[in-house]
Amino acid sequence: MNHTPDPSHLPDHDSVYDGLLGGDDSQWAFGTDFEDPLAGVDTTVPDGVDTHELATYCLMLADDALVMSHRLSQWCSNAPDLEEDIALANIALDLLGQARLLLARAAAADPSVVPALPEGSPVPPEDALAFFRGDREFRNVRLVETDNGDFAVTIARLLLFSTWRLALLQRLAAGRDHVLSAVSVKGVKEMTYHRDYAGRWFLTLARGTEESRRRLVAGLEAIWPLRAELFTSHPVELAVAGSGVGVDPATVADEVDVLLEQVFSMSAVDRPEVGPLAGVRGETGRDGLHTEAFSRLLAEMQVVARAHPMGQW
């Protein structure tokens, strides 16, 4: 955004906004400079850790949060009532914050993962990663990318996602990478109330009306085929688990199952018996293989940034 119009057209004022701001343009959300979310944070990669593997792993964790955040934000102004609108937007904001830090950590660990932009572009690395990668370069699990469906589908997905991510972040908090560890410690606090929120609504819908229960059971069945992928170890996840900076997701499967069983039994809902959604030639989300819905999501999420790579409009 350019706030300095040609003075020859405005003889009395530099900008019509000057009076509002008293000449201080720092209050603009856009158009000033960007700040580094890791400014001053020591981003040295621990000894014995492959920088590209660490960066790729950070992209996986970041993309899960970013895409889930985008899906949740699509409820804004569409939720069943104002309180849920606010709740889902708050949860989306937490996840966006986690994504931003993790994308910045990926870029700091291995700058070669950041897409090239025209010379002089002010777009910071984390935005370049979010808005200028193609679908095959995103490493998120497919669970987070499919359409929101109705509120029950969204709640079932949020319960599975937040239970899984909380278990991962709890283990990551003890990891050797100080940045990932710090992001995880904070993330654990946030995922705790995301999971509580989803669990409470799951129970409420299950014990509500015949219609709410029917929708919840259908919602759970709809997302269940994407569950197995959450616990499938990708070679990068195994590598970072081996070097002490990451977590093999297979190791959290039992804990997640126990927690879900707790919610299912209180809700009198059976664990779905539907098979996993197949990948293509063995590839799934972590390999950059995504669903059609993801391409549409990316198109919407990236269109403005891609139209303005120089950050001006």
């Binding site: 944070v41 606010i86 705790t192």
Partner: protein, 162 residues
């Protein structure tokens, strides 16, 4: 010249301007090395959108006081807790109609899943009545829940425990 620490400590939170950054507990450190001032702040929540404004406000206020070379750093560890809001900050919250947080939950060991609505023992910041009800666990900013006093019937915001 006023001490850099004093200037930084007087900068207020952009979303809860009754609190200084020091009272909110996000101001972690102010170091002066020759002419250079290095201020360290920590985010309240991962997605806190006020971080950029805090940084800008710190730089502007310090420059106004004659500190030209200012750097603002982020500290992610230890993670911010509502326990870090000072007694003065808590008093300021109540004085401005907000309810201050109770003790933050511990995150050591397994995190328990809670399927019951969050229960807090609160007093209405306006009339002092303990008869309050939760309207929404999520509010206008990440750090607040919405309540209503069933005595004076006024709504109020509660700063959440984290």
């Amino acid at each position: 010249m006023v001490a850099a620490r004093e200037v930084a400590a007087s900068v207020t939170d952009p979303e809860m301007p009754m609190l200084t950054l020091e009272d909110l507990g996000v101001l972690r450190d102010v170091e002066v090395d020759d002419e250079r001032v290095v201020v360290t702040i920590t985010p309240t929540y991962s997605g806190c959108p006020a971080m950029a404004t805090m940084r800008d406000d710190l730089v502007h206020r310090l420059r106004d006081e004659g500190f030209d070379d200012v750097e603002v750093r982020v500290s992610l560890h230890p993670a911010w807790s509502s326990d870090w809001i000072t007694p003065r900050g808590r008093a300021a919250l109540v004085e401005h109609g907000l309810s201050a947080p109770g003790p933050a939950p511990s995150h050591d060991g397994p995190v328990v899943l809670s399927l019951q609505p969050t229960r807090r023992t609160l007093a209405c910041p306006r009339c002092g009545s303990p008869d309050v009800e939760l309207t929404s666990e999520f509010g206008p900013t990440a750090c607040k829940a919405l309540y209503r006093c069933t005595s004076c019937l006024e709504p109020f915001e509660h700063v959440k425990e984290i």
